[in-house]
Symmetry: C2
Subunit: 452 residues, 2 copies
């Protein structure tokens, strides 16, 4: 009898805890959807600052904007964390043309890949089509030498999750130039890492492997890529292009941080996105959305007077796109300062409909997060599977292998129509979907803070 | 021992059945995403035909388009089902202005509600704000008499599912005029049934209750609605408007039908959307998407040589928007012909990301559909809850109360930015999300055909 009574008590108190959680999460959503600030914050970031590649004047303005905005919400602690970052600039807009043997000429939509060297004036050469990086070997030195390699691996449309399609062919962008140089290519152009066939070039980072000759590398639009393939059926195709890009010495920059100090201990839950973007478009989905998600999440928890157990730390990371030095320094400084990191959450998959969280952790940690399923189902969050967290927070795992990390999962279908392209502007973000992302992040921070 | 052996056999065959299903569904998705036709079909419907309100020349062209397209795919049976429909026309574009006592004047974005009478020339009057239909009583005859009632009930932004927000205030559009006339209003204007604050008027159907005086009714944009509220704070606001709309005699129209005859019996699984649209925009999401989802679903099943047990019937319903006579006749003719209807599936919630199916049926039928959850989870379909099926297929239930009905559930966040407005154009639809909708419908038809 006693036992049964006790069981009732426990069940009752678990039930009432679940009710408390449920009510609080509903309040989070009400605040985000009815009184939300994230959409107007994103408008300001996109329209008053714009694209903000690491080292640019816009990146500096974005740091000031983030700092001032977080300060205006009245947190315990708002500060800049000094880091060292690379500084690459596109310079003059690129120009490119293709020509065939019949004398036809067509202008290309072209963007240098981030980190590429310039062409040092006009570069000319014959194009050799190499479908994938793996095909270099097959086509061979004798056919590639002195030519411009054209990597043309498209997205696999059959993939349901478009990040998987991206991951399967992004090597052409990242290491294409380093591999092609062994076959004495003079430059590389790649098919844009885009989901659709359209006229926009999509940039993104590339790198040169240690010691290789640095040859220019650029992305062309998928429409232009298809055109080259067509032209090649009728004979040789030649390219002329000019790119003005260059590196400057590393410089000082900052992660922007705001905290709500923990009431129970000094364990830290980090959440954030990245403040830098590529220099095409306005960095609205990548990752203006993650920035305003994170700022809004901490604003909401503060506004609702949430009495947090652990320290909640909102981080606007700098330099995710070309080096990830914001994330790396953040982890190193944390370790040096002997901070206690128990959890990190990242939003870096756009401002579309949030559908869940990928969980990077042990099976027990995965199970812990999956217990929130029922609480979050009514808010259309249902995907809680083992997976990848995020580029910015990932370096923490080196120092804190026992922490749990979460990556917000967001409807991925449209993401690669905008990613790293001039199309990634404020107007491509829907207000409600953005607000739901903020609420999802705030709800998850709340649940992790209560549970860990 | 035997029992155990038998159990293994059964488990084994269940397992292999599940594998067969899983492989076939993967093929459906491959066809939709890699060789899909629905996006280009939607482009043709939107750009070559355009908005297609019942009775219009465009509606007639849409019938021909649907019939010819289905015939080109080589089905057993493609035919037109004759029905009788109402015929209402907007006539000349509406014009409307507000004026205040200070002599300020502002042009309105205004659309007559579908089914409204005209203003018979320029109509003028003082505006009286009545927030909701329920408030008429509170404000009373003495304040309303001779004035133009302005219903201004906004969407509840806190609702996660925007269809619920819509449902909660759509009465102002549907019966606002009929209720206001009892308080001797001379006309009504309503706040557009829109999720966001923007400059577009959203039309939609209204009706006059039997015997009431018919007064003109129009929707104004949410921006204009907010402006009137602001102006009313400083004194009286007057409206001038002109609407040219009128009814013509009922006329003959058609549902368009294509069938794959059942190999096992003559039970029928119906699936479809509606071919008519409102006359603003291009009816891309509402319901061009449902039309091309349905056409693509039957094309895919046919292309994959699916050996269907029951008759699969794709129906492009006419006249959902203002009368639903396509759906009503379809059900009546089915009953008269003693057809055997076991299931119906509708897509009429836009071309955004599909997330599941609402199930209208008994608890056993709900459970039957929910068993598909695991099979469909990898395709990001997870919501299988009791709910509403669709306007077009609903009348079948009167005659076939034991059938199961499904309504495809689609991410609702953006829907009411486009619904019944000039913004509902082809460009607002994402190719991949549309294709996923087609695949989801085909997969569900397949599963129901195998299971029922």
């Amino acid at each position: 009898m006693k036992k049964i009574f006790f069981a009732f008590l426990v069940l009752g108190s678990l039930q009432s805890l679940a009710n408390t959680d449920s009510l609080f999460i509903r309040k989070i959503y009400d605040e985000a959807l009815v009184q939300g600030k994230c959409y107007e914050n994103l408008r300001t970031l996109c329209k008053n600052i714009g694209a903000r590649i690491t080292g640019s004047a816009e990146a500096k303005m974005a740091i000031k904007w983030g700092h001032d905005l977080l300060q205006s919400y009245g947190f315990d602690n708002v500060y800049l964390q000094e880091i060292k970052v690379p500084h690459w600039e596109r310079g003059n807009p690129e120009a490119g043309w293709i020509m065939n043997e019949a004398g036809e000429l067509s202008k290309l939509n072209i963007l240098a890949l981030g980190g590429s060297v310039s062409t040092e004036g006009l570069l000319e050469g014959e194009i050799i089509l190499v479908q994938t990086v793996e095909d270099l070997e097959k086509i061979g030195l004798e056919n590639i030498k002195g030519k411009i390699v054209f990597f043309n691996e498209p997205f696999d449309q059959a993939q349901i999750n478009t990040f998987k399609a991206y991951g399967a062919c992004v090597d052409q962008r990242w290491i294409g130039a380093s591999k092609a140089v062994f076959f004495e290519a003079k430059a590389v152009i790649i098919r844009s890492m885009a989901q659709s066939t359209d006229e926009h070039a999509h940039t993104g980072s590339m790198h040169y492997e240690e010691g290789v000759t640095k040859i220019p590398a650029a992305a062309i639009s998928t429409v232009d890529a298809d055109k080259i393939v067509e032209w090649l059926k009728n004979g040789k195709v030649f390219l002329k292009m000019e790119m003005d890009c260059r590196f400057f010495p590393d410089e000082i920059s900052y992660n922007v941080i705001a905290e709500m100090t923990g009431h129970e201990d000094d364990d830290i839950i980090t959440f954030g996105g990245h403040l830098d973007s590529w220099d095409a478009g306005e960095g609205a989905h990548d990752d203006g959305a993650g920035i305003v998600h994170s700022i809004e999440a901490i604003r909401i928890l503060n506004k609702l007077n949430y009495f947090n157990n652990h320290t909640l730390r909102c981080v606007l990371f700098m330099n995710e796109e070309n080096g990830n030095f914001g994330g790396k320094y953040y982890a190193e400084i944390a370790s040096e300062n002997k901070e206690k990191h128990i959890c990190a959450i990242e939003s870096d998959r756009g401002g579309f409909l949030p559908i869940g969280f990928d969980i990077q952790g042990t099976p027990e940690q995965v199970e812990m997060v999956q217990q929130f399923r029922n609480l979050l189902f009514d808010f259309e969050l249902y995907k809680f599977e083992p997976g990848y967290s995020g580029v910015d927070i990932r370096p923490l795992l080196q120092h804190y292998p026992e922490m749990v990390q979460l990556g917000m999962v967001i409807n991925s279908q449209e993401y690669f129509d905008y990613h790293h392209a001039e199309t990634d502007v404020f107007e491509s973000v829907n207000r409600r979907e953005l607000e739901l992302g903020s609420a999802a992040m705030a709800a998850m921070i709340y649940l992790m803070d209560k549970t860990l």
